[in-house]
Amino acid sequence: MIEAHELTKRYGGKTAVDSISFTIAPGSVTGFLGPNGAGKSTTIRMIMGLDRPTSGSVTVNGKPYGHHRSPLGEVGALLDAQAVHPGRSARSHLRTMAATHNIKASRVSEVIEMTGLAGVASKRVGGFSLGMGQRLGIAAALLGDPRTLILDEPVNGLDPEGVQWVRQLVRGLAAEGRTVFLSSHLMSEMAQTADQLLVIGRGRIIAAGPVQQVIDSVSGGAVRVRSPHAGELAAALAADGVTVTLPESGTLEVSGTTAEHVGDVAFTRGLALHELSPRSATLEEAYMSLTQDAVDYRSHTTTARSRTEKGQNQ
């Protein structure tokens, strides 16, 4: 269980996280979704007590993270960049963390096995690929057998087999009743892994709830219609709140109404239909629509700005 209450973080004049409140429930996988720079990592660092909130508070399993007697037994975290000294072997890295909590050497070996690092455990981390680094980070997160897992971009750099493994792992952990909080900027990954979504953009929560609900709230659904009388049908459907577009000739995209209504209208006018299919938006579309105003680093904005600057220089 993670509970944030009006959590805010400002760096100088820039607000990275803007008074967000949320509750992450145990027993399910909650996806923390947002574009780069939206405030995901800052939020996670505040949960972990690494960054101090400017205002507001966040607790894990009822207490601020730092107040727990066994922090690694409460929360296991995979932090954004590799938080590992490259000169140490994977096993030594895990041993340094295990020692602080009197975790046995057998558990260190166990997480090494689990994450598939057995063959490279005695190699120095500096030579690891991004994917192996992620596996080591996940091994560190599992070390204390924690009730809550926080994984910042866990599938970054993993091969397809690794992605599949992370998916199974987090599903398994949630099924055991643990709280799993997973950040990503990849919506496709979230669609397959998460039960709940927390969408963040420019430091604010822009949507939260079960995955399908978040998608529906944005799209409202659309109906695809193919008809030889597309023009007539479009005119007949025109009403308040209904949007009709013609992506190609003979095809209509109707939003703001139901497939039943479209079918009824066509029937009463005697217009033949060749296709009538309700289409729910994909998470990707929902995400784009939710975050289009919340992307900090968009390519065309940058070009526009650099053009202005060039203009000023002249």
């Binding site: 660092r45 972990m48 007590g49 690494l50 960054d51 101090r52 993270y65 730092g66 727990h68 007697r69 066994s70 922090p71 690694l72 037994g73 929360v75 975290a77 932090l79 590799q82 938080a83 590992v84 000294h85 490259p86 000169g87 140490r88 072997s89 030594s92 890295h93 041993r95 340094t96 963390m97 295990a98 020692a99 602080t100 909590h101 009197n102 975790i103 057998s106 558990r107 997480v111 096995e113 689990m114 994450t115 598939g116 063959g119 490279v120 994917g131 192996m132 596996r135 560190a140 599992l142 204390g144 057998d145 087999e161 690794g162 493994w165 199974q168 792992l169 398994g172 952990l173 055991e176």
Partner: protein, 285 residues
């Protein structure tokens, strides 16, 4: 790449079985974690061996130079004024150089690699792990300084005996110089640890630490203003030098009393460490 093939069934199995380990954060555990941290890095072993090697070789070289001093009628009478322990401890600046770098790296290595976030995730209260780090460093610095002094004593013994300069263990002067050597090297390690915690960058910390510890007295010796020379006498190297001699030393500015020197050297360790501890609690990792 079969070694990297994860076994999902292993995960589920191990995660379901309740952890048999007593998972609790304790001070002893945090200390052990810091030990593993220091000793599992090659750079630590390089620092330790080169400290011992350089300090020992420097003292041997100084002892061997007694031969040329003895041949020169100008310097020959000076040999009688010398205390053998000063020759044994003459590799001190080399030890200071490497031990200071080791102290700096013990924390800047964590900040520059991101390891500090793993460290603070495991010990979110921070101060216990900082204290453990300081303590580990003190033990290691004192141990390597002691070993280096003992090695220096042994390798210079044959040469010093020719001039009747082997420092007697019954002589308090011997203990002052050799003990002072260990004391000042340990302080140098803590000075850099504190500085490194405040500055976080390896390059900045090593530059500032070595400038203050070793270079500044030499640079400022050309500025003959009284107040500048007063400052020089309170710098770490001159202050240490008064502890590393039984008589007078030719290190510029070394003119503090023994007790003042002890306090000044301790302050160079304590002030940065306390300041760093305060900053460490407040700042974002």
């Amino acid at each position: 790449m079969s070694t990297l093939t994860a076994d999902p069934t292993a995960t589920t199995r191990a995660a379901t079985s309740p952890s048999t380990a007593e998972v609790n954060s304790t001070l002893a555990g945090i200390m052990r974690g810091e030990w593993i941290k220091l000793l599992s890095l090659r750079s630590t072993w390089w620092a330790l061996t080169s400290t011992a090697a350089l300090m020992t070789l420097a003292s041997l070289a100084y002892a061997m130079s007694l031969d040329t001093m003895a041949e020169d009628p100008v310097t020959a009478p000076g040999i009688e004024q010398m205390h053998g322990a000063e020759i044994v401890a003459s590799g001190f600046p080399f030890g200071m150089l490497i031990i200071a770098v080791m102290g700096a790296l013990s924390i800047t290595g964590e900040y520059s690699t991101g390891m500090i976030r793993s460290t603070f995730a495991a010990v979110p209260t921070r101060l216990p792990v900082f204290a453990a780090k300081a303590l580990t460093l003190v033990v290691l610095a004192a141990a390597v300084a002691l070993v280096s002094v003992i090695l220096s004593y042994l390798v210079t013994m044959a040469q010093l005996s020719q001039y009747d300069l082997v420092p007697a263990l019954a002589d308090p002067g011997t203990w002052r110089v050799l003990g002072g050597s260990v004391y000042c090297l340990t302080a140098a390690a803590l000075f850099s640890l504190g500085l490194g915690t405040l500055l976080r960058s390896t390059a900045a910390t090593v530059t500032v630490a070595l400038t203050v510890l070793l270079l500044l007295p030499g640079i400022l010796s050309f500025v003959t203003l009284d107040w500048v020379q007063t400052i020089v006498s309170y710098l770490p190297l001159p202050a240490s030098s008064t502890l590393l001699t039984t008589g007078t030393t030719d290190v510029p500015g070394a003119n503090l009393s023994t007790y003042t020197s002890l306090v000044v050297v301790a302050a160079y360790a304590v002030v940065p460490i306390v300041t760093a501890a305060v900053a460490l609690r407040r700042r974002d990792a």
